[in-house]
C-alpha cells in the first residue's frame, strides 16, 4: 500500500457512494476514493483499520468493514456516539469524507487455509469479522466448515441484516443468530440467549478450527471460557482490540496496552497475546 504523501496525517478524499442504516444508530458508508490512482492502488487486509474524517469535526477510528476481495470501494460501519461519528452520520451520499489508512496488522488468513472457522460476534462488533467472512466466502474452497455465531440485544440491533439472510440461505455456512432474552419479536427465527450460551449450545468442534471473536468486553469475557471448554487453545482464538486512537501511526501515545501499541502491533491479537497483556483495555 502506497503512502503517496509525505504528510502522513493527510487523508485521501473519498465520496460517499451509498448509505445503509443498519440499526437506528448504526450506519454503513460505502466510500469511493476520489483520486483514480488511489482507487486503483488501495489495497488492505482483513482486520486493518482506518481513520475516517468528517472535516470540521475530526477523525474517528474504525475497521475497514468491506472485504479485501471486493475492490473499487471500502465500507465502514459505525455507531453515532460522539462528535465525529455524529458528523459522519449527517453526511449524505455524494459528500466527502477523509480516509487515512490502512493501518495496523491483520488476520493471518493464510494460516487459516484448510481449517474450519468459527466466527463469534456481538452487536456492532460484526464489521471487523465481516470483512474476513466475505473474504473467506469469496475464497470458500480454501477453508473447511464455517460457523458464524452472531448476536445482538434485540432484532433491530443486528447489523448487516440482508447479509445474515444471505449467509443463512447459503448451504456452505452455518449461521447461528441470536438475540438477548426479550429482544425477539414475533417473527424471530433465530435463537434467544446470550452469545456465550448460544455458542456453547452450538458446540462447534475445536478440531482443526480457528475461532475469531469480536464483541463488547463483557461478551469476550464470557466467550473465552466457553471456547476453552470446547477445546480451543488460546493460540487458535483471534480477537481485535478497539482502544481509543488518534494518529493510528504509533506516535500519539494513547492506544497502548502495556508496551503493545494497538494501532501498530494490533488490532488483531490471539487470546494468548491478550492474556499476556496488562489488563488495561
Amino acid at each position: 500500500m502506497c503512502i503517496p504523501d509525505k504528510n502522513i496525517y493527510k487523508p485521501y478524499l473519498a465520496t460517499i457512494e451509498s448509505v445503509v442504516d443498519e440499526t437506528p444508530d448504526i450506519r454503513t458508508l460505502r466510500l469511493v476514493f476520489q483520486d483514480e490512482a488511489v482507487r486503483d492502488s488501495f489495497t488492505f487486509r482483513a482486520g486493518q483499520f482506518a481513520e475516517y474524517s468528517a472535516f470540521g469535526f475530526g477523525e474517528s477510528t474504525f475497521c475497514i468493514a468491506s472485504a479485501p476481495t471486493r475492490s473499487g470501494y471500502i465500507e465502514c460501519c459505525f455507531r453515532a456516539v460522539g462528535r465525529v461519528t455524529e458528523a459522519l452520520r449527517r453526511l449524505e451520499v455524494g459528500e466527502t469524507v477523509g480516509v487515512r489508512g490502512p493501518y495496523g496488522n491483520s488476520f493471518p488468513i493464510e494460516q487459516f487455509f484448510g481449517r474450519n472457522l468459527v466466527f463469534v460476534a456481538g452487536g456492532i462488533a460484526l464489521p471487523p469479522l465481516r470483512t474476513l467472512i466475505w473474504q473467506c466466502l469469496d475464497w470458500r474452497d480454501r477453508f473447511g466448515d464455517i460457523t458464524i455465531v452472531y448476536g445482538a440485544r434485540t432484532e433491530s440491533d443486528l447489523v448487516y441484516k440482508h447479509e445474515l439472510a444471505e449467509w443463512q440461505g447459503r448451504g456452505d455456512v452455518r449461521l447461528v443468530k441470536t438475540v438477548d432474552p426479550g429482544g425477539n419479536g414475533p417473527n424471530w427465527d433465530g435463537q434467544v440467549g446470550f452469545v456465550p450460551t448460544v455458542l456453547e449450545q452450538a458446540a462447534p468442534s475445536a478440531e482443526n478450527t480457528i475461532a475469531l471473536v469480536c464483541g463488547p468486553p463483557v461478551m469476550i469475557k464470557f466467550t473465552l471460557p466457553v471456547l476453552e471448554k470446547l477445546g480451543f487453545a488460546d493460540e487458535a482464538i483471534y480477537t481485535t482490540l478497539e482502544n481509543r486512537m488518534k494518529c493510528g501511526l504509533g506516535k500519539c501515545g494513547r492506544c497502548n496496552v502495556g508496551n503493545v501499541y494497538v494501532c501498530k502491533d494490533g488490532p488483531v491479537f490471539t487470546a494468548a497475546q491478550v492474556k499476556a497483556m496488562p489488563q488495561e483495555f
Partner: protein
C-alpha cells in the same frame, strides 16, 4: 588545536546567523520566565537559567497545523503546510538534558511512518549544546545516564571555561559546517580549563533493574500510594523534553478550518476515554503508572531508550509535589 569562543563572539555568532536569514532559537527572558524562543539579537541569549519549557517545542510545537480544508460548491479540498518552507534553524545554548531529548524522540517519530513535521525540523536544525554549570536539587541527569557535559544530541558543543567564554567542539558534519562558516569568530587556543560542572547530588539509578521491576509490577500498591495525590494536569508532560503524546483536532468551521496536532498528556482523565465513556485508565493511579511505565519500560522495550533526561522540570512544577526521582529511588530500592 582546540578552539574557543568568547561570550561576545557567541553573541556575534547569533547575530551573524540571523543576518544570513537563519532562525536562531535559544533561551530568552520574556517577562518573568525564560523560554526557548526565536532570538532577534545575540545579547538576548540567557545562559544562566534552564528554560521553563524544554527545547522539544523547536521540533514538536505545542500546536501545529497539519492540514487545512475547505468546502466550496459541494467540493472539499485539503491542503497541507509546505514543509519545504520550514526555516533552517540553529538551536543554541541547549543544556545536555534538553539536547539529548530530540534524538531520543527520533525513534517514535520515525518507526514505520516518518512524521515529517518532527523529522524535517530535525533535519534543518543544528543544535549547539552547552555544558551545565548550575543545577538544583530537582536535577538528576546523572541518574538516567547523562552528565552535565553530555554531548548526546549536540552538533556543536560549548564548555564554559575559566575567565569566560567557551571551549568549542564540533561533533558532527552539521556542527563542523557551522563552525567553518563562521571560522573568524573562533579563536585558536585560549584558556580551555572548564568551569566546574553542575553535578547533581543524587542517588544513582539502575535503569535495567527498574525496567525489570516495572515488568513484574503492573499491579502494585505503590501506584496508588504515589498517585492518589496526582491532580491530573498536564504540567509534567508539557514541560518534559521527552513526552511526545499529542491530540489531533479539527478547529475552525465546517466550511473551512484546520486540522491541528497539539500536546496531550496521559495524566488527563479523558486521554484514553472512548466515546462510549468506557475508560481503560479510569483512575489517576493508572494514568500515573502509564507515565512511569512509558518512560522507563515501554519506550525501552520498544526503542531501547529511556524517555527521560533528568531535567527535573516535572519535579519543580508538579502542583502536588510528586517527585519522579523519589519515585524512581523507591522502585530502585525495591528491585
Amino acid at each position: 588545536m582546540a578552539k574557543t569562543l568568547s561570550l561576545d563572539n557567541l553573541h556575534r555568532l547569533v547575530d551573524a546567523l540571523l543576518q544570513e536569514g537563519v532562525r536562531v532559537v535559544g533561551p530568552k527572558r520574556t517577562g518573568t520566565l525564560t523560554v526557548y524562543a526565536p532570538l532577534t539579537r545575540g545579547e538576548e541569549l540567557e545562559l544562566n537559567e534552564l528554560p521553563r519549557r524544554s527545547a522539544k517545542e523547536t521540533f514538536f510545537p505545542p500546536c501545529e497545523t497539519i492540514l487545512s480544508f475547505e468546502k466550496r460548491d459541494g467540493r472539499t479540498t485539503v491542503s497541507d503546510p509546505d514543509l519545504d518552507r520550514l526555516p533552517e534553524t540553529v538551536l543554541i545554548g541547549v543544556r545536555p538534558c534538553d539536547a539529548a531529548a530530540p534524538g531520543i524522540l527520533d525513534a517514535v517519530f520515525s518507526w514505520d511512518y516518518d512524521d515529517p513535521f518532527f523529522l524535517e525540523r530535525r533535519k534543518r536544525t543544528t543544535i549547539i549544546g552547552i555544558a551545565c554549570t548550575s543545577s538544583d536539587d530537582a536535577c538528576f541527569c546523572t541518574a538516567v545516564g547523562l552528565t552535565p557535559d553530555a554531548r548526546q544530541g549536540s552538533d556543536l558543543f560549548l564548555v564554559p571555561v575559566e575567565g569566560g567564554g567557551f571551549a568549542v567542539e564540533a561533533l558532527d558534519a552539521k556542527g563542523s559546517a557551522l563552525k567553518e562558516r563562521h571560522a573568524a569568530l573562533f579563536t585558536a587556543g585560549g584558556n580551555t580549563v572548564p568551569l566546574p560542572l553542575a553535578e547533581p547530588k543524587v542517588e544513582p539509578l539502575d535503569l535495567e533493574k527498574i525496567r525489570a521491576w516495572l515488568d513484574g509490577n503492573f499491579e502494585h500498591p505503590l501506584w496508588k500510594e504515589i498517585a492518589d495525590r496526582c491532580a491530573g494536569c498536564g504540567a509534567c508532560a508539557f514541560l518534559c523534553p521527552a513526552c511526545h503524546c499529542f491530540d489531533i483536532v479539527d478547529e475552525g468551521g465546517e466550511g473551512s478550518g484546520c486540522r491541528r496536532k497539539h500536546w496531550d498528556a496521559c495524566g488527563f482523565g479523558k486521554f484514553t476515554m472512548h466515546a462510549s465513556a468506557h475508560n481503560p485508565r479510569d483512575v489517576q493511579p493508572q494514568r500515573y503508572r502509564n507515565r512511569i511505565m512509558h518512560k522507563f519500560k515501554y519506550y525501552r522495550d520498544k526503542f531501547g531508550q529511556t524517555l527521560c533526561t533528568g531535567c527535573g522540570r516535572c519535579i519543580r512544577w508538579c502542583p502536588v509535589g510528586i517527585d519522579i526521582k523519589a519515585v524512581l529511588d523507591e522502585i530502585n530500592k525495591k528491585s
